[in-house]
């Protein structure tokens, strides 16, 4: 006879599944990068306590289905080395994940591998995970290396898109226009030619770095600092799926971490405690309070780089079914 507290189970990153008596364990992998040595450990859990199958989640974790509720303690013990290796904050050692609300922080492959990336997405994702996990509030954060947005940050509460500020050394430019063509065909057509030299429209430029990648003489190089576009409150779902909109452009790492952390305070203050399961999604909370109120909370104590552009008011569109 099973007598379970489903709320506790869910907080422990187990799912209440459609199959009576069976749960599924979610393994989070911040930044989506792990060393191959962890795979046999996950395999072992699936084969010993699951049904031998593993689902790759959309948030770059593993979901191990077919686990008996009665085996959760045993599975938690097997999860421990994985949790430690991936450096996940844990409140009670040996007890698995102690929260599930704040989802795995995901990232595109970034500058470890991808030629387009403007920064190491994995490292920033891991840093963010350290700052915000564990927490019961439902936050989705994703990092993408460049404006191509392969991880689809615009469908997240917080999307962080890398930007570089191209530096032009005119004495190294012979006017081949490779940068101009690349920007026009692959990006936003922000470059033009004046007297055989290149002029960058700073208002149009999205900092993708195509000019830097295509310049054959290093006339274009990357800025030493990496900048980010912070897009907020994108979502999928039943009522009003929508893409995230720009909040900060040319923002710094510190500002972004601070804003995300501030948002937890905002949600704690305004969340509808009467909502089903006590869960209300940030985007809908902002819809209720208005953007101006959110911005006040979010920007509290945030130090901005002089380059940073803060948008506001921000309007979202998307599809309304409600």
């Amino acid at each position: 006879m099973l007598d379970l507290n489903t709320k506790k189970i869910k907080k422990n990153a187990y799912r209440v599944t459609k199959v009576r008596g069976e749960t599924a364990s979610r393994v989070r992998v911040p930044g989506g990068l792990l060393t191959a040595e962890l795979l046999p450990l996950i395999q072992n859990i699936a084969e010993t306590y699951g049904n031998g199958r593993i689902h790759l989640t959309t948030r770059q974790g593993f979901e191990i289905p077919g686990i008996k509720y009665t085996d959760m303690d045993a599975v938690n013990a097997l999860l421990q080395p994985i949790i430690e290796k991936l450096n996940i904050n844990q409140e009670i050692p040996g007890k698995g994940y102690t929260s599930a609300g704040t989802r795995n922080v995901s990232a595109c492959i970034g500058s470890n591998t991808c030629p387009f990336a403007t920064y190491n997405t994995t490292n920033f994702a891991k840093k963010m995970e350290q700052e915000i996990f564990p927490n019961d509030l439902h936050f989705k954060v994703a990092f993408t290396g460049c404006a191509n947005d392969c991880i689809k940050t615009r469908m997240h509460d917080f999307g962080i898109i890398g930007m570089t500020e191209p530096q032009y050394e005119k004495e190294r430019c012979m006017g081949c226009q490779a940068c101009v063509k690349a920007c026009k065909k692959k990006s936003v057509d922000a470059l033009s030619v004046e007297n055989y030299r290149i002029v960058r429209n700073t208002e149009k430029c999205v900092g993708c770095g195509e000019c830097v990648i295509n310049c054959p003489t290093r006339a274009w190089t990357r800025s030493p600092e990496t900048y980010y576009r912070l897009v907020i409150m994108g979502r999928t779902g039943k009522r009003n799926p929508r893409l995230a909109e720009d909040f900060l452009v040319w923002a710094t790492e510190d500002a972004i971490i601070k804003i995300v952390k501030n948002t937890y305070g905002f949600v704690n203050n305004y969340i509808d405690r009467e909502a089903p399961g006590g869960k209300e999604h940030i985007g809908y909370i902002i819809d209720r309070t208005g953007f101006a109120e959110y911005k006040k909370w979010a920007m509290e104590g945030v130090e901005l780089d002089p380059r940073t552009i803060v948008k506001g008011p921000v309007y979202w569109s998307g599809i309304h079914y409600d």
Partner: protein, 337 residues
């Protein structure tokens, strides 16, 4: 004369020299590469020997010291023109043996091929060359195949080994400055073999100019010109006449690097271009490097530094192309027999 001295002493000598010379050497430019967190090694000014990147091959050659990527030649107004001033200081350039041979190719083109190029000459005459040895061959080097692995045509050879500096001087200024240093025989480090070996065909029959062999390159090459820009022996340039925007009657003429792979190279007045096909551009470059130049000047143009192979984003290997061409020439010779 060979000397053994200290890095401190040598830096002091260069510090004195810097009153009259800009000192250029391959340097690491952190994060300046094509991709994030990738460095570039290219020429820049140095003030201390420790800034020199001895351990790796430079991505770009020294040629930009004598042939700036963009160089203003003269300024003009309605009725007059004035040549741009030459740099006030001379230059000292650190470079490897293959590049010293590359210098000869540049001299041939700019000093011995018809009219003397005064803009090149005025830089060249005030430049001293310091050889950097090669203890090991780098990836893609084929200097031995090109016979450029050694050179004693330098003003000095310099090797840094911790705090010790070995110098072989052909320059009386250094001999004077090093008076009192331990005299010793100094022989420049050089390699005797490379992993990459190329065999250049003696002659390439005209019939191979349109061979299907080149077509594959037409599909692969993206006409970026990197192979030409990194090459120490690519000496092509084009002109840019600029009219200042505030006063459309005054301006300047610049010369800038050009590349036979890049669009526009064969454009004529009226817009016609002669070599649109990138396979034919590859053919033109390869033939210039290892055939045409030699027919005219007696040595191959290519000095085997392998930078073109290092840099090509499409992984087109110039060295492998020569070897494939050589096989093709041998095959066609057999067919004729």
């Amino acid at each position: 004369m060979g000397y053994q001295t200290t890095a401190e002493k040598m830096n002091a000598i260069f510090s004195d020299l810097s009153k009259d010379y800009l000192i250029y050497a391959p340097k690491r430019f952190v994060g300046d590469g094509t991709f994030t967190d990738i460095d570039t090694i290219r020429y820049g000014e140095i003030t201390d020997l420790s800034e020199i990147e001895f351990a790796e091959k430079s991505d770009y050659s020294f040629k930009e010291v004598l042939l700036p990527i963009s160089e203003t030649l003269f300024y003009f107004t309605e009725n007059e023109m004035k040549e741009a001033d030459a740099p006030k200081k001379g230059a000292i350039v650190f470079l490897r043996s293959c590049d010293l041979h590359g210098l000869k190719r540049m001299d041939t083109i700019y000093l011995e091929n018809g009219a003397v190029d005064t803009y090149y000459k005025r830089l060249r005459d005030n430049t001293k060359f310091i050889l950097m040895g090669c203890e090991n061959s780098f990836e893609n080097c084929f200097c031995v195949s090109m016979g450029t692995q050694k050179s004693d045509d330098y003003d000095a050879y310099l090797k840094v080994d911790g705090d010790t500096v070995l110098v072989d001087s052909h320059w009386d200024y250094l001999d004077t400055a090093l008076t009192g240093a331990t005299q010793t025989q100094v022989i420049a480090d050089s390699v005797t073999a490379n992993d990459t070996v190329v065999t250049i065909p003696e002659t390439v029959p005209q019939s191979l100019f349109d061979a299907p062999f080149w077509e594959e390159y037409g599909n692969r090459c993206i006409a970026c010109g990197r192979c030409n820009f990194v090459c120490p022996t690519c000496t092509c340039f084009t002109m840019q006449d600029i009219f200042y925007t505030d006063n459309g009657k005054a301006g300047e003429r610049r010369r800038v690097w050009a590349s036979c792979h890049v669009d526009g190279y064969t454009d004529m007045a009226g817009g016609h271009a002669f070599r649109n096909d990138k396979g034919q551009r590859m053919r033109f470059k390869v033939m210039h490097k290892v055939n045409d130049y030699k027919r005219r000047f007696g040595t191959h143009m290519c000095i085997g530094c392998g930078r073109c192979d290092d840099v090509c984003p499409e992984y087109i290997s110039f060295a492998n192309c020569i070897n494939k061409l050589n096989a093709l020439v041998n095959d066609s010779a057999k067919e004729e027999n």
